[in-house]
């Protein structure tokens, strides 16, 4: 590690942190985009002159349910991967 000429240990750690952070930001952006699209579709049927309170309530609930769904699917997908791995070995 000491004779690493191009990167010091600290620099490497910083690089790893940056990579992790950029991935987290990209993930959050993707979630935000999808959530906006899905909840607009579900909650705003006929766009009026403003978002009325029932639409706002719907959007808030929709966001929470979308996250619930995301977590549930994450679990289901993880389980499936485990099962497929078990079948291969």
């Amino acid at each position: 590690m000491d004779n690493l000429s191009s990167l010091t240990g600290a620099q490497r750690d910083e690089l790893m942190d940056q990579v992790k952070q950029q991935i987290a930001v990209a993930n959050a952006q993707e979630l935000l985009t999808k959530m906006t699209e899905k909840c607009f579709k579900k909650c705003v049927n006929k766009p009026g002159t403003s978002l009325d309170s029932s639409e706002q309530k719907c959007v808030a609930m929709c966001m929470d349910r979308y996250m619930d769904s995301w977590n549930l699917i994450s679990k289901a997908y993880g389980l499936r991967i485990q099962r497929e791995r078990g079948r291969m070995s």
Partner: protein, 93 residues
């Protein structure tokens, strides 16, 4: 993406540190792919399973969501296998 990762990591000097970085990037890449897949499943299965958003996901919706993931993977595997067979039969491979 993997190409740029490879040339990026091979530009570093020491073998051990290079390997550690490479492993780190591989794990992060796998995690990112897993996440991307969940975004895709959630996109598809949300439309199939979720009606009007309410106070919580009811158990019927939850079952639908997890079934949706499994059946989508089943369809993907089935189509992949059948497509491979089609290619073989037509002498495409």
């Amino acid at each position: 993406m993997s190409d740029s990762f490879d040339s990026f990591t091979s530009g570093l000097d020491t073998k051990g540190a290079e390997k550690e970085l490479q492993e780190f990037l591989m794990v992060e890449k796998q995690k990112a792919q897993f996440n991307a897949q969940i975004h895709e499943f959630n996109d598809i299965c949300w439309d199939k399973c979720v009606d009007k958003p309410s106070n919580k996901l009811d158990s019927k919706t939850e079952t639908c969501l997890s079934n949706c993931v499994d059946r989508f993977i089943d369809v993907s595997l089935l189509i992949t296998n059948r497509f491979a067979q089609m290619l073989q039969k037509s002498g495409g491979m």
